[in-house]
């Protein structure tokens, strides 16, 4: 591995991880599902599903909010906030941190979401428009606001430093985690809870996506020639990012090091992605990390399973990596958990940590036919054992906003 290009400031490590998504209610069950290549996508169980053209999704099934929260909490927590708090609880337990005094003041939260409290909006528009009600619950606004999850995390764990929510559609989580990384690296904060959450699987949420005609009715098959679109998921993942020296000093279990981040804008089209914009984000993240292309063994792809994304992403990777593109592995775990939109990069970072820590590369499932325009090793259908020293996680959003993170093992 090459020497670090320059001193960028403090080193940043991940000392806690938590999740809830269609594959599992915590990190161990999610990683086990990814290693098995299990699909979490199935028939949607939501109100008025019979009026939807798209009736599948990566839904968190068997979920009972009353098992996690009391009546007052449920009145205040939209589903996306609930998912965030559940993921954060696991991450905080793993990190073994508590926040008081100066550490509390120097620690914060930055999370990604796209829809925020969309279920709350959907239910209340239904109440006033369809049911004709003239009165709504008093907490609708604090429940639906996009920063609700961030604020509840800060309240729950006494995080008093820089805290905000990032909304850049499908890149929200990666942008959020990139900000958390840079805040610790530059000394603005010592610990950041970061990641993202999404709960868009409601009638209005799916109906809006149907309109674009990019959704699959049967499966998410990234990079496969017979792919026919994306499938939405839901859930959250939250990580504890921490100053390396502090983590070492307290003997924390370090899951991985965050070494680079880059973000670019295509400045081209509101929905069609640009290979150049993606490539600049990929090369930017490697440069920021001081990584050479040969150092990168695995990429967690954006890999939505749409015609437009997958060939653009493969072209970007081919250009960014040159001959090494044929030697690295790149998979899309969206084939298993669906596209969590603003939360997707966070859940996908778990696959990156598994690659670095456990030497298990999560597969792209549903892969049936090679596509000459996606001629990379996409780890089809079965997980693989491989030792990798550095990985990337790609996220390319509608609106042409791209965010790529680089991680390596410690």
């Amino acid at each position: 591995m090459s020497a670090r290009r320059k001193s960028n400031g403090r080193r940043v490590v991940i000392t806690g991880a938590g999740t809830i998504n269609a594959l599992g209610g915590d990190v161990p069950s999610t990683l086990a599902a990814m290693a098995e290549g299990r699909c979490g996508i199935g028939p949607l169980d939501i109100r008025d599903v019979d009026r939807l053209a798209i009736q599948i999704g990566g839904q968190v099934t068997g979920y009972d909010e009353q098992k996690h929260f009391n009546r007052q909490q449920i009145a205040l927590y939209d589903r996306f906030t609930q998912f965030t708090l559940i993921a954060a609880k696991e991450a905080m337990a793993g990190a073994g941190l508590s926040f008081t005094g100066e550490l509390a003041a120097r620690s914060g939260v930055v999370l990604g979401t796209s829809g925020g409290g969309l279920n709350t909006q959907d239910e209340n528009y239904r109440a006033v428009y369809e049911d004709g009600k003239n009165r709504v619950h008093p907490f609708i606004v604090p429940k639906l606001m996009n920063n609700a999850a961030t604020s509840h995390l800060s309240i729950e764990y006494n995080l008093k430093g820089p805290s905000f929510t990032v909304a850049t559609a499908c890149a929200s989580s990666n942008h959020a985690m990139g900000q958390a990384f840079q805040m610790i690296r530059t000394g603005m904060a010592d610990v950041m809870l970061t990641g993202g959450s999404e709960a868009m699987l409601c009638f209005g949420g799916i109906k809006a996506w149907e309109g674009l005609r990019v959704m699959s009715r049967d499966a998410c098959r990234p990079f496969s020639a017979n792919r026919n679109g994306m499938v939405q998921g839901e859930g959250a993942a939250v990580f504890v990012f921490e100053d390396y020296d502090m983590a070492r000093a307290r003997g924390a279990d370090i899951l991985a090091e965050v070494v680079g981040f880059a973000m670019t804008s295509d400045a081209a089209d509101i929905v069609m992605p640009s290979a150049q914009g993606a490539e600049r984000a990929i090369t930017g993240a490697m440069a920021d990390a001081g990584l050479d292309p040969e150092d990168v063994g695995y990429i967690n792809a954006h890999g939505t399973g749409t015609a437009a994304n997958d060939k653009t992403e493969c072209s970007a990777v081919a250009h960014a990596f040159g001959p090494h593109a044929d030697r690295l592995m790149m998979s899309s775990t969206k084939s298993m958990h669906g596209h969590l939109i603003g939360g997707t990069g966070a859940v996908e970072l778990l696959a990156c940590i598994m690659a670095l820590r456990d030497g298990i590369i999560a597969p792209t499932i549903g892969y049936e036919e090679p596509d000459p325009e996606c001629a990379l090793d996409v780890v089809p259908n079965e997980a693989r054992h491989a030792k990798v020293g550095a990985v990337l996680s790609n996220a390319f959003a509608f609106g042409g906003l791209n965010a790529v993170l680089a991680l390596r093992s410690v």
């Binding site: 309109g211 674009l212 005609r213 990019v214 699959s216 792919r227 026919n228 679109g229 509101i270 929905v271 069609m272 399973g305 749409t306 015609a307 437009a308």
Partner: protein
């Protein structure tokens, strides 16, 4: 108004042209319509004729809705109206 005239009106509006400037042999590219213009046209057609157009932007070639030219789209709409009414 017949189906042909209405479809041409919809396509012309999306392409920001006068209906008289749209020729039956024009392709979407000839008219300067991109993928967003296409899905918006299909939506307008569905609304105008109260039909459902089977079209997935990821696999346009697999759709029965032939978008290769203005005339193929008109023919496809005529078929859908006949089948769905």
């Amino acid at each position: 108004m017949d189906i042909k005239t209405r479809v041409i009106e919809i396509i012309a509006e999306q392409a920001m042209l006068e209906p008289g400037d749209v020729q039956l042999t024009h392709t979407l590219a000839d008219l300067g319509l991109d993928s967003l213009g296409l899905v918006e046209s299909i939506f307008a057609i569905e609304e105008a004729f109260d039909i459902t157009v089977p079209f997935n932007a990821n696999e346009p070639e697999k759709s029965d809705f032939d978008i290769s030219s203005v005339v193929t789209m008109i023919t496809a709409v005529e078929t859908l109206v006949k089948d769905q009414k």
